[in-house]
């Protein structure tokens, strides 16, 4: 049966040609060729009446099945090709720069202070604040720093008038807190302080401090060491070691300066720690009973500890910043490093 054979051949030819199509246009050409009015299959179907009755049934059935099959194949293959070509046409250059929304940076001093605050809050401290413009009583006298005493040498101060000055430390807030509240007290006092130091790479007439105070019955020097050890490990790393060196502060006794193992060289000795492996980072001690007397606390009943640190110094150590002036120049190339 020549016609039936021919139908098989047409099917093969069609499949091969359709498979070779790369675009919807080519698919359309194939459709016209095989299913169009001038198509061979159309011709066969049209001339079916010329065949014998037996042949007619067999060829007719097979030709119709083939026609439907071809139409379906063209439809689905065409859709596929159309989608493919659309994708190709709309393809983006993913290496073009993105349009990023702006995200701002918080100043490194704010970030450092926030970090210090968070650690102490997690240790149970509350946060207290007080005025920068202060009287001699809160800045000096209540803290056992009498006038015309060499201990004032360490606290050169800006004066506003005979009554007011700019606080030289945030210790004034300790006095305000103790006047307002009876023990127990567990608070930190972050804030801005002023000392008439000429500005250079390591001095600034304005800087920031965080101080802490704990007062209750039976607060000990061991508690102070415990709190500061936890703080320093949280702030500088768990392998940090602490050293408490006896020192003198009028408002604490016993007093200490607190050193940590140098975070630059790990205690081996380098330029930052001046070769001795230790970095001084804060002052601390047990609250002097004279301070308790100034705020009318029973100095026999209560003990307490206090500590204080400079935020700029800590930020400089943590970030490896060598010039304190960078914090107040506000160069955007500096600020955006702390995003």
């Amino acid at each position: 049966m020549d016609v039936l054979k021919r139908l098989d051949e047409i099917k093969k030819e069609f499949e091969a040609e359709l498979g070779g199509c790369a675009s919807p246009r080519e698919v359309e050409e194939v459709r016209v060729k095989y299913l169009g009015r001038k198509g061979e299959l159309t011709g066969i179907l049209r001339s079916i009446s010329d065949l014998s009755a037996r042949e007619r049934g067999e060829v007719g059935k097979k030709a119709n099945i083939l026609k439907n099959e071809m139409a379906e194949n063209i439809r689905s293959f065409g859709l596929e090709k159309t989608a493919e070509s659309r994708k190709k046409a709309e393809k983006l250059d993913i290496t073009m720069p993105g349009a990023s929304p702006a995200v701002g940076a918080v100043h490194p001093i704010t970030q450092t202070m926030a970090r210090i605050n968070e650690i102490f809050v997690s240790l149970g401290f509350s946060i207290a604040e007080g005025p920068e413009v202060e009287t001699e009583f809160y800045n000096f006298e209540a803290l056992n720093i009498p006038a015309d005493h060499p201990s004032r040498d360490a606290f050169d101060t800006f004066y506003i008038d005979n009554e007011y000055l700019l606080r030289s430390h945030t210790s004034n807030v300790q006095i305000h807190v103790m006047q307002k509240q009876k023990p127990p007290i567990q608070a930190i006092m972050p804030g801005r302080v002023y000392r008439p130091d000429a500005v250079d790479a390591s001095h600034s007439f304005m800087f920031h401090q965080v101080e802490g105070l704990m007062v209750d019955e039976d607060v000990t020097f061991a508690d102070l060491k415990g709190a500061l050890l936890l703080f320093c490990k949280s702030m500088f790393g768990k392998d940090i070691k602490l050293r408490f060196r006896p020192h003198f502060f009028p408002f604490t006794e016993p007093s200490a300066e607190v050193d940590i193992t140098c975070i630059i060289c790990g205690g081996q000795g380098c330029r930052v720690c001046k070769g001795n492996g230790w970095l001084e980072i804060m002052g601390a001690g047990m609250v002097n009973p004279r301070v308790f007397e100034a705020v009318k606390y029973d100095a026999r009943k209560y003990t307490g500890y206090a500590f204080g640190m400079g935020v700029e110094r800590i930020a400089m150590l943590v970030h490896g910043i060598e010039d304190i002036r960078l914090f107040y120049e506000n160069d955007i190339r500096f600020l955006r490093q702390f995003i």
């Binding site: 509350s126 060499p150 060196r245 006794e253 047990m286 009973p289 107040y328 506000n330």
Partner: protein
């Protein structure tokens, strides 16, 4: 204070290397900052705290070392042996006119000395401490000063007119040439040592050149005294003259050693320069304070958090020069020596024990946390929230000095009297407390533009300061300052998008929206701002907003537009409710209609929105300005504004008729009240 290792070993056989000695001194409170090798000796530089004048001497430091390393201390001879003394020799009278400033003065005459260079040992020791050898007399007094901490002065007795010492306050206009060759004018409150006509020394600070010991000196008067620390401090400060002597008198010398140290110096002079140690005379009385402290060792253990042994505690105190007169259980009575006037109370002794015992031996532990419900004030929480919003809006935080120049403050503050000024500023540049954050902001902007960074979005949260109220007391107000300049965005899709007034206004609106506070803007002229607007929230002034005028920008060397605002945070903090209340999400759909309005170009958009909202009342969900057009199509002097108005209700879906109804009422109101037409 400098310390020679070899010199220290004269008094205590320390038995440890210099480095170990340095560590021991540092860890007991006398911090060794540097150790210098001087060939055959090690010289340490120590930081001595102001409460320890006794450590401003080699003997004082030797006592510390003897305690830390538990070794015996040997002191030099502090009396004049009979064979060196000439009891019948001359003496010099001394008179004190002001016993408050000089409670005690002792003068010793030494005759027949031979002034020449000192012995090698004296030279070596004083040189190691940074002193320049002068002659055997001056060197002996300096040696004794360093050894005992008592400043001494030797006068050429033959140059003291009348041969008599008068300790008095300076007369007005009196002058003296000090041994450093400087002619100094004295003030009436300064204490001087004088002969019968002139001052011959500034008491406790420096001697005079006219009576100094020279090669021709034969007879000397050796002074040893106690001068009031505050007076010496004030005199030294007022003259800008600090000496080894004033440094020690300011901190208080050992009242029990005035004469002993003088004897020690007399002996040294005798050994170095020969002669005869003659008459001694004194004026005034000086009784060292008798301090007795009862120390409860139990309490010491409680304060330190470490259980202390009585025997060890007593050993430490005795090594430090104290005597224990009574014991009652764990309570001991301690007598404090005259050189430790800093020890007055029990806690002072607890510190002594702790620093020698070793802070490092006290354990670190946390035994308690105080239960507190509120650990952050509301104000701090609001500030923290603002800190989360502003960087998310693309703003970088800056931090500027609170102290600015008077001139800069004047640029932004209306009334000069309100400015808070320092009495002792470091410089004109930082003379007053800032009344606005604008100066610091514009400085930061100028700094960056000068260095090639032109696109800036800055904020600062800080305080401003002013005098207010009838008492003119200083108030500190927290404020937020924001500035935008240059391009807001610069990218290949949109090109350059300059930051404008409306971008800053949008940031302010976003901030208030996040804090759930209302915000309004009202025209309100400010001299240095173009397009100045007052920011208002809940009927109160909350700050200002605008574009800095070119004249002001010129002062900061800025030539591009800068938009700034300053928001007072005290009111914002007070009104902010940090709680988030849930409101039901709308269940019923809303629908949106556009209105295109043609109106006079000066008609305020805020007015149009007001009319839309007040007319539609609760049926209006939102009225958003979608488009603005000015140009040929609408004719000159006109503008076209398109609003998208959204209608809806919480309780049901509005019908088409209702929407059309309210929409046409809105249009009627607009044309009726504002005389606008529609496109």
């Amino acid at each position: 204070m400098k310390l020679s290792y070899q010199w220290l070993k004269e008094y205590v056989n320390i038995g440890v290397k210099p480095e170990e000695l340095a560590r021991g001194l540092t860890m007991s409170g006398s911090e060794v900052e540097t150790i210098e090798d001087t060939g055959g000796d090690k010289v340490m530089n120590l930081e001595i705290t102001s409460n320890r004048p006794d450590c401003l001497s080699i003997i004082g430091l030797a006592r510390e070392a003897s305690t830390v390393f538990d070794k015996d201390l040997t002191l030099p001879m502090m009396a004049v042996p009979e064979e060196r003394a000439d009891k019948n020799g001359p003496r010099a009278e001394c008179v004190i006119k002001n016993k408050k400033l000089c409670p005690y003065y002792a003068a010793r005459v030494i005759t027949g000395v031979q002034v020449k260079g000192s012995s090698e040992k004296i030279k070596k020791y004083i040189t190691s401490l940074g002193l320049r050898p002068v002659n055997n007399i001056v060197d002996a007094t300096n040696f004794c000063l360093m050894e005992t901490g008592q400043p001494l002065h030797a006068f050429d007795l033959d140059k003291i007119k009348g041969g008599k010492i008068i300790v008095r306050e300076a007369a007005k206009g009196e002058k003296i040439v000090t041994i450093d060759g400087v002619r100094r004018e004295l003030k009436p409150d300064m204490l001087v040592i004088a002969d019968e006509s002139d001052p011959i020394a500034i008491a406790g600070v420096m001697g005079g050149r006219d009576t100094e010991v020279t090669e021709s000196t034969r007879n000397i008067l050796l002074e040893s005294a106690y001068f009031d620390p505050v007076s010496v401090r004030q005199t030294a400060r007022s003259l800008g003259l600090s000496s080894d002597s004033s440094y020690r008198f300011e901190r208080g010398v050992d009242k029990g050693m005035i004469v002993s140290s003088q004897n020690r110096a007399a002996n040294l002079i005798f050994e170095e320069a020969g002669g005869k140690i003659c008459g001694f005379s004194e004026a005034g009385v000086l009784k060292p304070e008798e301090t007795r402290i009862v120390l409860d060792i139990e309490r010491a253990s409680r304060v330190l958090g470490e259980s202390l042994q009585k025997k060890g505690v007593m050993r430490i105190l005795e090594r430090l020069g104290m005597t224990i007169s009574a014991e009652k259980g764990l309570a001991i009575t301690v007598h404090v020596p005259s050189f430790r006037e800093d020890l007055k109370k029990e806690v002072d002794l607890i510190e002594e024990i702790a620093r020698i015992y070793g802070y490092d031996r006290i354990p670190a532990k946390i035994t308690k946390i105080i239960p507190q419900v509120t650990r952050k004030e509301h104000s701090r929480k609001v500030i923290e929230k603002i800190y989360r919003i502003l960087p998310a809006l693309g703003l970088d935080e800056i931090m500027t000095y609170s102290l600015i120049s008077r001139q800069a403050a004047g640029r932004f503050s209306g009334i000069n009297d309100d400015i808070v000024e320092l009495k002792n500023p470091l410089s004109e540049e930082h003379q007053v407390l800032t009344p606005q954050l604008i100066d610091g902001m514009l400085r930061a902007v100028g700094w960056n533009i000068n260095r090639g960074s032109r696109d800036l979005r800055f904020f600062e949260m800080g305080k401003i300061y002013s005098r207010a109220g009838w008492k003119r007391s200083v108030t500190e107000t927290p404020v937020l300052c924001i500035a935008l300049t240059g391009a807001l965005r610069r990218d290949w899709q949109e090109g350059e998008r300059p930051a404008g007034f409306y971008d800053l206004k949008g940031i302010v609106e976003a901030l208030f929206e996040t804090l759930k506070l209302p915000v309004e803007f009202a025209v309100s002229p400010i001299a240095w701002l173009d397009n100045a607007a007052e920011i208002r929230s809940a009927k109160a002034n909350a700050g200002f907003l605008g574009t800095v005028d070119t004249a002001t920008l010129g002062a900061y060397d800025i030539s591009q537009s800068v938009h700034v605002c300053q928001i007072k945070l005290d009111g914002v903090i007070e009104k902010t409710d940090l709680r988030n209340h849930y409101h039901a999400i709308p269940k019923f759909p809303s629908s949106t209609r556009d209105i295109s309005i043609l109106c006079d170009r000066f008609l305020a958009a805020g007015r149009i929105k007001e009319v839309i909202c007040s007319t539609g009342e609760d049926l209006i969900v939102d009225a958003r300005l979608k488009d603005v057009y000015e140009g040929e199509q609408v004719g000159s002097g006109k503008k076209s504004l398109t609003y998208s108005v959204t209608y809806g209700l919480d309780t049901r879906t509005l019908t088409d008729q209702e929407i059309e109804g309210v929409h046409s009422r809105v249009k009627d109101a607009l044309s009726g009240k504002l005389n606008v037409t529609f496109r």
